[in-house]
């Protein structure tokens, strides 16, 4: 069979999405959308007292790449600490999916943004300034650069 626009990994996650659904008692929820094409991605975190992601689930309205990016992101997140989570870039998601078509890279970016949004929600809920997420993110980016 001729190769399709998506890798086998993408198709696998599209057909068998991991961690699909909602977490009733989530303590971090992030929802982002792409105005260009209308995709919406919602992430649910259950983070324990040590700042470790105990559970993560997603709901996504979007194309194959959006669904696969969400699913892959949840897999990569589980068991990670908040700090580690922020180090997860969209590139890592793309790589883990064995690539995405150029026009679909934005789906992985959306996943990265959803993670940030969920973490901000988490910090807000535990009474911290959510902008800490931006600072942490900036720090990571500087580290990567230097």
């Amino acid at each position: 069979m001729a190769k399709g626009p998506y890798s086998d990994k993408v198709m696998d996650h599209f057909m068998n999405p991991r961690n699909m659904g909602e977490i009733e008692d989530a303590n971090g929820v992030g929802e982002v959308g792409n105005p260009a094409c209308g995709d919406v991605m919602k992430l649910f975190f259950k983070i324990d007292d040590n700042g470790v992601i105990q559970d993560v689930k997603f709901k996504t309205f979007g194309c194959g790449a959006a669904i696969a990016s969400s699913s892959m992101a949840t897999e990569l997140l589980k068991g990670k600490t908040v700090e580690e989570v922020l180090e997860l870039t969209n590139n890592a998601i793309v790589e883990a999916l064995d690539g995405l078509p150029p026009a679909k890279i934005h789906c992985s970016v959306m996943a990265e943004e959803a993670i940030e949004a969920a973490l901000k929600d988490y910090y807000k809920r535990i009474g911290k300034d959510p902008s800490i997420v931006d600072e942490m993110k900036a720090k990571i980016k500087n580290r990567v650069k230097s």
Binding site: M15, M20, C37, T60, C63, P101, P102, H106
Partner: protein
């Protein structure tokens, strides 16, 4: 495999292929070579094809020009009259909002030469309002170009009435009949049209060949300059096997269209009725009465078209979607993704990746194939709804 993307091209009729084969093997002569039999055979073959195509649309053979695709026919029609000395000075074009890119983008290109375009709105069923058309035509109007049937939402325009308005107003009229020819009656005399595009791949002919009807007396400036072929309207060595295939497809359509279209209508109505009963949030697009036989199109709230397409494909069903996400997967940039202008024109919310699907059947489509679509659709929709942050049970 259940192939329901026939607006993207049909399976060639085996009789068409059989007729083409000699012209790919032993009858390889150039139709311009009149002085030996091999050339004359090709010449005769393309003229026979010309007669068959003319016959299908009630034209004369010398009013038919062969081209390489529907897009070429549409470009040749519009640019051809725009660049003809005969119509110099007229700089206004009327089209509809739901024309194909090969019309939309041509008028956009012509704006560089000072042409202005009025795009007629369509109603929620995809139909043009005749009063709008009358108002749109002015003294500067060169040509009106309207699609007979829309491949995405299946709607059929009242072409005859549109043609009468054009005739009354004394403007040229081009009909893009690429999605309709070979499926429903296409008659250049009834349509009162000056130009009409049709394409082989849309009705059981081969890919790579199409035609343009040019009414006697209408003048176009060619897109290709060169030798003497096609009366100078379309220079270049002819695609003899392709043209022979188009001719045979036209001949078969003329004879068998009424019968197979009747069958397709039955399957269409069966599928539409089943879909309407499935989900309150599934919306049929396009006029339900004036629509192509075998054409079923709809959109679903809460879920996205590409995902639906992919799932259908996994179930062995080939379909199309007008969602932005599925629009141009080869683009280098997400900016190049765009929701179908046809769907937004009929009022499908364009701020979301519409979950639109088009099924287009062929004369080969069977009832058991349609039953299979009816069977798998709820599974797919439920699965994707479950995943959707918008959907609430």
């Amino acid at each position: 495999m259940i192939y329901l993307d026939n607006v993207a091209g049909t399976k060639p009729d085996p009789r068409v292929v059989e007729k083409m084969l000699p012209f790919l093997t032993e009858k390889y002569g150039n139709p311009s070579a009149h002085f030996y039999p091999l050339g004359r055979e090709s010449f005769q073959a393309i003229n026979e094809a010309r007669e068959n195509v003319a016959n299908l649309i009630n034209a004369e053979p010398d009013e038919i020009i062969f081209t390489s695709c529907g897009t070429e026919s549409n470009n040749l029609a519009i640019k051809g009259v725009a660049n003809s000395f005969k119509y110099e000075g007229k700089k206004h074009i009327v089209i509809s909002e739901i024309e194909h890119f090969s019309i939309q983008n041509v008028t956009a290109k012509l704006s560089n030469q000072g042409y202005k375009t009025t795009k007629l709105k369509v109603d929620n069923n995809g139909k043009i309002n005749l009063e709008d058309l009358k108002k749109a035509i002015n003294d500067d109007t060169l040509i009106v170009s309207i699609m007979h049937a829309n491949p995405e939402i299946g709607v059929i325009q009242n072409i005859q009435e549109i043609g009468e308005v054009c005739k009354e107003k004394g403007v040229l009229f081009h009909v893009d009949a690429i999605a309709s020819t070979g499926h429903i009656d296409v008659d250049v005399k009834k349509f009162n049209c000056d130009l009409l595009s049709l394409s082989a791949q849309n009705f059981y002919g081969p890919r790579g060949v199409a035609a343009l009807y040019i009414k006697k007396g209408v003048h176009i400036s060619p897109l290709f300059d060169g030798g003497y072929q096609e009366n100078g309207f379309r220079s270049g060595s002819e695609n003899v096997p392709g043209i022979v295939g188009l001719g045979e497809a036209a001949k078969i359509a003329k004879l068998e269209m009424v019968q197979y279209s009747k069958n397709m209508k039955y399957l269409r109505d069966k599928l539409i009725n089943a879909l309407k009963g499935m989900f309150s949030f599934l919306h049929i697009t396009g006029d339900e009465k004036d629509r192509l036989p075998g054409h079923v199109s709809f959109w679903i709230e809460y879920i996205e078209g590409e995902s639906i397409l992919l799932w259908y494909a996994l179930k062995g069903i080939c379909a199309a979607s007008g969602s932005a996400c599925s629009s141009n997967i080869l683009a280098e940039d997400e900016e190049d993704l765009a929701a179908s202008h046809v769907l937004t024109a009929i009022g499908v919310p364009n701020d979301i990746c519409a979950g639109s699907i088009t099924f287009s059947m062929s004369k080969y489509t069977t009832e058991s194939e349609i039953d299979e679509v009816i069977k798998v659709t709820p599974e797919i929709v439920n699965r994707l709804c479950e995943m959707s942050p918008y959907y609430k049970k």
